[in-house]
Every structure is written in structure tokens, then in C-alpha cells.
Symmetry: none
Amino acid sequence: MTVELYDTTLRDGTQQEGISLSVEDKLRVARTIDALGVPYIEGGWPGANPKDTEFFKRAAAGELELANATLVAFGMTRKPNRDAAGDENLAALLAAATPIVTLVGKSDIRHVTHAINTTGEENLAMLQSSFELIRGEGRRAFYDAEHFFDGYRRDRAYALDALRAAIAGGAECVVLCDTNGGMLPREVEQVVADVVAEVGGDGPGGVQVGIHVHNDTDCAVANSLIAMDAGVTHVQGTLNGIGERTGNANLSSIIPNLTLKMGMTDVVGDGAVGRITHIAHQVAEIMNLSVRPSAPYVGNAAFAHKAGLHVSALAKDTDLYQHVDPGSVGNRIRLLVSELAGRATVVMKGADMGLDLDSADAMAILERVKELEHLGYSFEAADASFELLVRRHTGQDVERFVLESFRTIVERREDGSMVAEATVKVWVGDTRLIGVGEGNGPVSALDHAFRAAIGGVLPLDELHLADYKVRILDAKAGTNATTRVLITSSDADREYTTVGVDANVIEASWQAMSDAYTASLLAREGA
Amino acid sequence: MTVELYDTTLRDGTQQEGISLSVEDKLRVARTIDALGVPYIEGGWPGANPKDTEFFKRAAAGELELANATLVAFGMTRKPNRDAAGDENLAALLAAATPIVTLVGKSDIRHVTHAINTTGEENLAMLQSSFELIRGEGRRAFYDAEHFFDGYRRDRAYALDALRAAIAGGAECVVLCDTNGGMLPREVEQVVADVVAEVGGDGPGGVQVGIHVHNDTDCAVANSLIAMDAGVTHVQGTLNGIGERTGNANLSSIIPNLTLKMGMTDVVGDGAVGRITHIAHQVAEIMNLSVRPSAPYVGNAAFAHKAGLHVSALAKDTDLYQHVDPGSVGNRIRLLVSELAGRATVVMKGADMGLDLDSADAMAILERVKELEHLGYSFEAADASFELLVRRHTGQDVERFVLESFRTIVERREDGSMVAEATVKVWVGDTRLIGVGEGNGPVSALDHAFRAAIGGVLPLDELHLADYKVRILDAKAGTNATTRVLITSSDADREYTTVGVDANVIEASWQAMSDAYTASLLAREGA
């Protein structure tokens, strides 16, 4: 069995409620997914909105160099009763300048007559001529047969005719879409087997057959696998299963299923399955989503074990209680009541910093981490803050400045203009320094004021803040909720991620910035 | 085809990280689930913890009158090398006084020898004698064959012997458990078919065969359905798919699949499928969980439509774009407004507000939405801000106050204490009002200052902020990045979600709060 995976996180995935990505976000997601080594990444729908158009423009201008995947642009077949050559949507698609184009088009006769108000015959002509235009420009082309399964139920012959029209126009792969997501595995299997027999690669003039399903019956992953059994060799899905309504088939589940359970080691890049937990979380992070804890393979609870029988047996023989080794997907076991695993982690982290922590130290640090996490801190990403915590705990002198006080003022004036201003008072050794700064908002003003105060005394010129994230914890408390700020900063040498937590967003931001300043100063000293 | 559903929300479901129910909670959940009309509800493990013991005691004392389901108590087979009659776990189970008992016992030879350190023969004796004891007390008995699929792979003959020992002891149903959740549909089908042929109801001395799966391969629902195809007639699962790690098979998906797609109208009570959205949310509410928006059938986004293409067709013919009628599961359609939406969405939304928008209006509003989304606004969730935008566009007078200016001050003092303070100057008609407020942070101070200013003049006492979200757009710009704030507020009548965007988080928060004030004031006027 063989299969080519087609990632549509950036196109169909972004149909999910609440997802709105900047062009910069889209470029970062594409680069992140490319690390998986899937052959196809669908980037968006050029012409449908300014962002997607700009995404492809910047990709074509060299801002998106993919090491593994081929970038695909998505669009629709031409409008009824006009020339393909004069269709502005197809023109926008071609302008995106991707090697491959995926065209969505109708295959359900009722959608033809009721949604786009044309005839079955004209839709077939739309399909064939649109593909001919794309192929004539030297592009490869795939056909997303929209509502295929509903169409097949309604009028099998017409649904197959639609596929044949696309093939006649030059489509090299026809993708059967369960657009409404209503299919159950048994019927998927039957329909796919029939289609593969009719137009699949082994028959005369046959092409590759693919599958694209949604999760409305909670069967999207299984439907994709069952379709492979029935002969598809192209599977579309999204990272973390994001997508409209209930989401698309989840590649974060499909990839480990194929790789670890079905022995298909070449569906992603060498070793990529071992990074899938990291990649899934990274993509979610860029989209400002969380991976749900119960997500198969990549969720934070996917290998979490409760107390008692399991955990003691787990120590003897992990195979007995886990369907795969968590490390094989880059995830880890979590023992929900035992701190044993945690202590070992702390000792290992200490060794990374060149510190030889004994078990009592590790235990005490772990207790402190637990207290802080209870308050809302999270050290999983904030390595630099964790390192400072460990150094402080072991009695190292890490403070290079001591804050006396700060004040930030934000004003909206009568003319509607905004002013943000801050003052900082800080001690470096025996010297008291005062600075004032302005900014776009209170946090940038505070950053500028601190730098003004310590300018010339502490070397922070190279440090700049690269990423700033705010999470509201306990959001139900409204504007009184606790705020967690995560900041990533970088200087010439390194990146630092730091964390701050407080009911006041300014104080939380100060904590995270202050840890970043300290970490960078220590790094410059070679600590 | 026929099947009996077995709900284990209260036993296996509560193994999920973070779930801890009081006895009162458990009684409420049981009553809520009973409304579905499933034949079996597993209430817990009497003897394993004081809460479950008390639950059964109170149930037996008449506090839990189930109209439809039979209550089941769960426990383990006797310990090795002792009498079933002297086993305190079995005694606790019998004391629970339920008509049915489910016993879990080993069926994987490696678990027998490595986890409970006994012999294969002794485990078979444990199974048979435990069931004999339960049956001797006049109870019906089911066998949960733990790790059955792993055991079958390792030693098929032993796994079948375990089933036969339970049957010999009097088990009337043997439930094949994929305890580690690692199975894919094809293998489930093969194993189940073999087991049904060996011990299933049609053979000599055959019994009912059941299935209990977890979602570790993202196939739990499909595995349950496939097992039915292969002959099981008893399916275990949980509401909302809660459970350890990745969760159990999701009854909230299985019930509509069986009822609406497979025509099995008698698996739940008359009309119960039409209440499943309500029941799923109610159970989640009691457990202090949220139903995830993307949950099939019952999630808030299960029938949400975003793409413009879809929505215009949806208006014509809802069947074309929905796999089932949302009302058939007690859910509803939601149309999301975004740059991906089309004119039809805007017209339909306008109609919801009682506004008759023409096509030119809709187009102009959509253009404005696109411009604002390009700046970072997002109206998909922010219904109340969208409604204000439409009302303003159509020339309605919606402003109930006009901001003159505000100032917020956040200070961190020498002693480390934080102070947040704000002043607001605002006009209501010809009256200029001034207010000052303090808060945990600058935004709550601003909220308090505004309310102090307009107190007694505008009726906002009932409005409170229920949810506050901050999203940093273009986070690479560090502390200079654009900030989007989404606020959900509620008053006695309604919920309002509003949005604000600015480089300054305070201004962005003001915009969202200010829309919330306005929306609530308009609602009170009956606008």
C-alpha cells in the first residue's frame, strides 16, 4: 500500500471558526508543516481574499522555500457560460504561479442545478475546459470533487461523468470529497471501491484517486484509512484536525496510524513522525489554538496515566499499558499523581545547564514548579525562566539589577490620539537609575523606559523581543482574570522564552521581560 | 441489526484527568443520562473509593429512580489464590445491590503473568468462580475482557479461554475491551468476527458479545460501528467521549449515527436523539467541562457555516450543505461572518436583526468587514460588534454615550505592590460625566471608571464581563504588535461578544468594552 498525504491546514483548516491568520502566520505554518515531509501543502485560495493572494505572491517571490513539499493553489472551475480563458478566478489561480493547482468543482447533479443554476452538461464542460486551461499553462492539476458522496448517492452516473470530465481535461488525481462529512466507513468503502474500479489507475486511462473527509460522524480518520483499503492513494487532511464545523481528517492522527501501525514508513520524512507532537503544537501555537489534551498521539493527556495499578505496572512493563511508545511520536508519559518522573526530568534539565542537582534539590524545585503552575505559570515553553528558577534555587547570584518601581500611563485624548508612557526606577549595584519611555502601548513603553534607565550600564542593545503572547487564564473572571504572558526574545547568540503571571497584564509582562533581560545578561557573561 | 448501549460515563469517563464528581453530581449525571433511554448505566466501582460506595448506597435507598436504564455496578474478579466468597471487592460489589454486575478480568496472558503475577490457569479459575458467586446471588453479570485485543494478538487461544471461563461462570455478555485504544478498524472487524463465531449467541452455549474501545487512534466511534457489522450487539461508551487519555467511544456521536444514519430507531428512547445536544451539554455542565465546539452533532460549531460559497446555497436548500437536519439532534445552524463570507450571509444576519438589507447594503457592509479584518478585527465570534456595525451602516442612531478621553495608570511601587487606576470623561447627551476607578489591572480599572461615570444615568448594573481574550497579531513585532481583544459579556437577557483592535491593548479593550456597553443598552431598549 502506498499513499501521498496532502495537507490543507492553510486552506480548508482555516475555515474553522475563530481562525484568522496573517500572511506572516501562513508563511510560518507552511514552513512548520514542511518539516513533516508531506508531498503537498495547499496554501490557500488566491483571488478569494487579499491575504491568500498576498501569501502566494510572497511565496513566489522567494519568501517560502519548501524543502519537501510542493505548494498547491486552490480554486474553483470557471463560471457557467463563459470562456475558461476569461475567468478571473482561474486567472488569479494561474497568477499564484504554483506547480500544482487543485480545482474544486461540482459532482452532485443537484448542486449543479440548485446551487450554481446551470445544466449537468455545462458543468461537465466547465470541468473539462478549466482543467484544459490549467494544464495548457503547464501546471499539474488535481480535482476536488465536491459533495462527491452525496452526488454518488443521488446520481452515480453523473458523479462518475464529472470525474471523467476532469480527467479528460487533464486532472491527474480525482479527490472524492465528503464535503458535508456525513459518511460512515462501510459506505465509504463501497463507493471508493466502485470509483477506483471505474476510473482508478489500473483501468484504461485511469488516474490516481484521493479522499477528503470531514469529521461530522466522528469517523474522519477511519474513513480515510478505509478508503485506502479500497484503493485511494492520496489522502487530504489538516494538522490537529482543524476545519469547518467538526473539522477535517486529522493528519496528526493519520500519520502515526500509517507510520507506526500500518508500517508505511515513507509517507512522511525520515524521523518526522517523532517530531509530530512538537509540530502539531507549534502549528497550534502560531494559530493561537491549543491542542486539546485528549488529542490522539499528540495531546498532553494522550499518554497520561492515573494512579494505582496502572502506574506500578507501567514501571515494570510500559508495553502493557501503552499502544505505542510515546517517544515514537515525540510525546511523553505523564503520571498524574507520581512525582517520580518529574524529579528525573528536573535532574536531567539541571545537567543540561551544567548543574549537578541531587534528589532533594530536584524535589524542592519540583515543589516550587508545582506551586507556580498552580498559580498559572507554565514552564514547558519558558525554558529561560525555568533556568533562572533553578539557578536562584541553588543559590547562584543571578540578579544584575533590582527594580525599585515603575509607572505606566495610557491616555486616550480628546482628539482620539493615544499616548503610552512609562517611567522605571532601577538599581544596578549601588547606582540608582531612572528612565522614561514612550511606546505603542504600556508594555512597549515600559520596555523602552527600562532600556533608557540602564543604557550604557548594562549591555542589552542586542536583545529584542521577538514574540509576545498573552493568555487569559480563568477567563470566566472577565477583566479580573489572571494573565499569563510568554515572551520570546533573542540576542545575537540565543533565544530566550520567559513567563510572567499576574492579574495585572503589565506586571505579568514585566516579569517575563525582566527574566529575558536577566537571561541575556547572564548569557553574555558566559554563565 | 440490533444493539444495546451501555453508558460508562460515570465509571470509565471519570478517569479523565481533572474530573472529580461529588456523589450529588453523580446522581444528577445518572438522572440526566437516563433521559436518553439507554438500557444500561454503569454507576461506578463500589469499594474502590468512598464516593462510589456512597453513590450506590444512596441509589439503593431510593435516591436514584431510573425510568429507563438498569443501574450496573463495576468491579474486578477475585484476587488470586483465595475464595471468591471471601473477597472483599466482590462483597462490596454485591453490597451495591444492583441487578447487574460487570466484572473486569484479565484476558491477556502477559497481563496475567506480569501485572497480577499469577498463572493462566488461576486467572481462568478467578474468572469462573467470581461469576459463579455473582450469579449465585441472583444478579445478572457481564464480563469486561480487559486488554482483549492485545491478548488476542499475543495468544488467541488463551484470550478465548478467558471468555469461555467467564461464560462458564454465568456471564451473559462478554465485552471485548481495547483498553490501550490502539486498534484500527480493519483488525477490530477481523478479531470480532472470529470471537463472535467462537462464542457468539448463534453458536452452542453462545452469549452476547460487546465492544469497549478508547480513542487512541482517533477511531473509537468507527471501531464501535465496525464491530457491530462484525456481530457485537452491546456497545459501551461515554457522553462527550470523556475518559482516560484520549477518551472512550463517544456516545454523543454513536447515538445519532445509529439513529439517523443506520435507521436503528430503538437504540434510545422515543425522541431522545432530538435532545442529545441538550443532554450532552447538561452532563458537561454538571462535570464543569465544556463540550468542544467541533464535537460532531452536539458541538456549538457542528453546524456552523463560514465559506461564502456554502452560505448562498444554504439559503436555497439546507439539505445540500448539511449531512443531517441540525434540529434532529437538537442543535442549530450558525452562520459566521468573516472575509470568507458572502453577501448572502450578511443578508441573512440582517434578517435575524429584523433589518431588510438590500444587496448593495450587504455588499458595502461586507467590504467594511473585509477592511476591518485586514486590520485585525474578527467578527466571526463578535456577533454584537457586527450587529452594531450593521446598524451604524444603515444609519440607525445607536450611540448612547460619547467618550471624551480616558487615562489609565499602572504603578508598581517600591514595596512591590501594584496599583491600577483609571479616569474616564464621557458625554451622555449634553451632560459631561467624569469617573475614576481602580482594578486588578488597567482594563478592569477602566471598566470601573466608566461605570462610576455613567452610574445612575445609563442602566448597566446588570452587565458583567464573562470572558476576556487577548490575541497578539503579528507577534513578531514584539511589544509593538497589534492586539485583538474579544470580550463576552452578559446581562439578564443575553450574551454579547465584542471585538477591539489596536496596537495598544488598553485601547483595544476599550473598543470591545464600549461595544458591549452599547449593545446591552440597546437591548434594554428593545432595539
